[in-house]
Symmetry: C2
Subunit: 553 residues, 2 copies
């Protein structure tokens, strides 16, 4: 370990989300990103998923800095949970990223737990024995960067989330030159975004979306409602530009949309085009044909603007025939059905809905296979670690790298916590550290996806619960009250004939058993469980969770 | 109503699945298909979804026949639930469809509830005052047909699920001529499959998959495992052919795969190629390089062959490096994550996995937009009703029809149960009949997706349940035993400090309240609920379902 460089993805490999990578040399640790993930379907009732930061907490003194590639939740949303365990660690990020993170940390009363350092692409910074140079990349939020990291033990390029857009509407091009220069000097490790490693070709330029938006808004006769990610400031700008071109006003709607736009405007990332953006209060006064509404809900999130509109549940907006809705986003895996349902409901309300792939109104923020190859070709890494992706995406990215000339024994397809150790000549797998998911539910975490809480929730979800309570007299062993049976998610009607018959059946069984064992509560509970689960399965072919309570007097 | 033709989709519009359409004239009803649907994610614990057949049951005497387009579950799986309500209705279908349905009806002891009539494409049959002519279409199961239906009140073409494959491996071409001929004579209504109304171009020929399979099996060095739908007999045949060509033996694995292959072989739809298909018992004796295994699990279904293999949970097969796995299917909407997880796990076990869209190893059974246009062009309908699809797919199909020359006031985008009535000149919406979903859970149905059972299951799934039981003495109003608190899916540890504190808090609150109201159980329950839900939300930010039971002695 001493004298080596260690790379440890603590999150974001084998999954989409909660990206976090530790880079370690000579007792110092740099952390790149600190994201959250959204719960998988089997994580019932979980609010969000953050990285298990035990390894960092145990080495808190060694952690010198957190570098953030950009301001998306899957790269920054873990900070409120991880930062308290490595208090005092400074954060380095671009201006917009800092703007977004500041709000988040303030909310969690954590501004005192760190110092925030704004960094500029192309400038070299030093942290401990590391130096790093951020380089611009294109992504679906402004201020996105990768990091070129140098240490006596080795050189690393970490791409962050990226694509190469040669005609970006805001003129901000990825810094291919810097990557190529490092590639020429020699890069030991490339860690590269695998999100779209299954997509052939190039990701289209944002400029093509701008053209589509201009056409769609130009052709619309009534009101236009566009939904996108609140963080996709570039898309919001293009929509404002297209609206301005057609003489329409723009109203921003939804808490996160309004907040992000305010931050981006303040920091100079968003231009309201001289009064094109107007306040929500103007809504009533504007004719439909003069209006573009930009809102959230492009992922079918239940509480968001577009979803509420589609469900006739929005405070200000009711969809009417003549409305044009543009869903300017693609569903993140897992959200397909929610998005589809929103679109269905909008059509039912009479709107004309434009969405991918039927209309070209979105491009991804991630590079496709040709861009991944270009990154490999520029960086010419000696070793390759695909990051940011489910396992099969990492494998596909690894196969690409092999095709691009990285020899197969220098490619590491990892799982969270696995350690790649580099001694200056050879890299090898060197065990793993604690890593994984912390499932946040309300104010605390639950005990893992296979833990008792989520297992019980899944059982309850499937067949409901039946409570059985009775009171026994300890002295005589006789039941003096009950059994009362209460079902939820299973025969909820207390007079359900099956439930009444089950009660009779139970009473008979308990009477029969009573002579032999008396009122011993443990025995009684087991008996109740046995008798009822068998009887109810026969009657219903369902298996509710049966919960007996025996009270003693 | 008298003297009119009425078309009523009782299922399959605004959804994918449980296809069933009633066609009614002069007091006689023809039913086309009778399918099931798989439960939506919010239908917790539901086994399957079948059509609400109330309308047919109320008009049981009028129902003259059920015509089945093909043998898939979403067109036949509702029969065991609908047939008992319209006992004696004869079923008309192709040989394979009858073979598959017979097994299903036997299982449900319903063979006596119907008579099964094998029908031939191109032949005209009479049922009551209707005549109908089945015509061949291509689909992902052999024996697929559409129906050209004639009545004095009007002419209807119902496509069933279809695509046009001009080079089908089994030589069975769709009968374009028949559709064109009817189109020439005049078709009042076209009811057409909308499943792929969002996909541009043509669906590729099955022949292209055959070529891919030959290449993949030819290039594989070790064992090949291919997963597809058990009903996709054509795909199974192509795999057997490719295996035979490369001198490999084939083993079929999985209950439904073996059953369907047995029926298809018996009825002449599947050819084992002279000993290429061998019994499962031979598995041990065959070298990996001599073996192709065909199994189920292409949808990531938990109990299926491929899923079990990917989870190291299969009785006979453990995945080893060197294995080649071919997922010869696309995920049905809703199954994306399960399929992705299966592929991830297979890669983790060391297999090389081929799947869409990375490798071309599957084509859909449904026609894309160009084929839908061709159908419209051949049938030249006066009126158009898009069927088989979620609402937005129906809308897209309607837009296609408009583009193909059907005037917009003759296109009906429907919801289940809506009635289109035709008086010989004009068609119009004429209200709706009872239709919708019956959610089957075990041996019976639950009360709808917004009913109390599923609402409770969703609440239980989110935050679990906390039971609170106590015994009070009716005479004194005093608590004589308890309160006992038991959490499931919420603070399951009985010694959890939050739970212990909540108990103390509750006892204090009950003591304080006791003086005023005594032991009235309704009051006590409400009090317990109030006190605990408030306290626990403050402490945990979770909202478990709180279930108080008050026993009296």
């Amino acid at each position: 370990m001493a004298g080596t460089l260690r790379i440890i993805p603590l999150g974001g490999v084998g999954e989409v989300g909660k990206n976090i990578t530790a880079i370690e040399a000579d007792g110092e640790i740099l952390v790149v990103d600190c994201g959250l993930a959204f719960p998988e379907p089997e994580m019932l009732g979980i609010d969000l998923v953050v990285p298990d930061a035990t390894y960092l907490a145990e080495n808190a003194k060694a952690v010198k800095a957190i570098l953030l590639t950009h301001g998306h939740e899957d790269h920054t949303g873990g900070l409120p949970y991880v930062l308290p365990r490595i208090k005092g660690t400074p954060i380095y990020a671009s201006k917009l990223t800092i703007g977004l993170v500041t709000g988040k940390l303030k909310e969690h009363k954590l501004l005192g737990a760190t110092t925030l350092h704004e960094i500029e692409p192309g400038t070299e910074y030093a942290v401990g024995a590391f130096t790093f140079t951020p380089f611009r990349v294109n992504h679906s939020i402004p201020g996105g960067m990768g990091f070129a990291i140098r240490h006596a033990r080795g050189t690393i390029i970490h791409t962050g989330d990226f694509k190469f857009d040669h005609t970006p509407p805001d003129g901000t091009r990825a810094d291919l030159g810097l990557i190529a220069e490092w590639g020429k000097q020699g890069v030991d490790f490339l860690l590269s975004d695998s999100t779209r490693a299954e997509r052939d070709g190039y990701t289209l330029s944002e400029a093509t979306v701008g053209e589509s938006l201009r056409n769609l808004i130009g052709a619309a006769e009534g009101r236009v409602i566009l939904a996108t990610f609140a963080s996709n400031i570039g898309r919001v700008q293009q929509t404002i530009d297209a609206a301005a071109e057609h003489g329409r006003k723009v109203v921003l709607m939804g808490r996160s949309m309004e907040q992000n736009a305010a931050i981006a405007t303040e920091l100079g990332y968003l231009d309201g085009r001289d009064g094109t953006v107007v306040r929500k209060e103007q809504l009533e006064r504007l004719k439909p044909a003069d209006l573009v509404i930009i809102t959230t809900g492009s992922q079918g999130e239940p509480m968001s603007g577009l979803t509420r509109m589609s469900n006739r549940d929005h405070r200000n907006i009711s969809i009417v025939p003549g409305d044009t809705v543009i869903v300017s986003a693609s569903p993140i895996p897992g959200n397909e059905e929610a998005v589809a349902r929103t679109i269905d409901n909008l059509f039912k309300e009479g709107a004309m809905v434009h969405y991918e792939p039927m209309t070209h109104c979105h491009v991804s923020g991630h590079g496709s296979r040709e861009e991944l190859k270009l990154m490999l070709g520029l960086a010419k890494p000696r070793h390759f670690i695909p990051i940011h992706g489910e396992y099969r995406m990492l494998v596909q990215h690894a196969l690409l790298a092999e095709g691009a000339g990285v020899s197969v024994d220098r490619i590491f397809v990892l799982q969270n916590g696995q350690v790649v150790e580099f001694d200056g000549t050879r890299a090898r797998l060197a065990g793993s550290v604690q890593a994984g998911a912390v499932l946040v539910d309300g104010l605390s975490a639950v005990d893992g996806v296979d833990g008792v809480i989520l297992r019980d929730r899944r059982a309850l979800a499937n067949d409901g619960v039946l409570m059985v309570a009775l009171t026994v007299a300890t002295a005589t062993g006789r039941t003096v009250s009950g059994p009362d049976l209460i079902g939820r998610g299973f025969l909820p009607d207390p007079d359900d004939p099956v439930l009444l018959a089950a009660r009779e059946h139970l009473i008979t069984a308990l009477e029969r058993a009573g002579d032999a064992h008396g009122a011993e509560p443990g025995y009684l509970k087991a008996k109740i469980h046995d008798v009822l689960s068998r009887y109810l399965y026969e009657q219903t072919h369902r298996r509710p969770m049966i919960l007996p309570i025996v009270l003693e007097v």
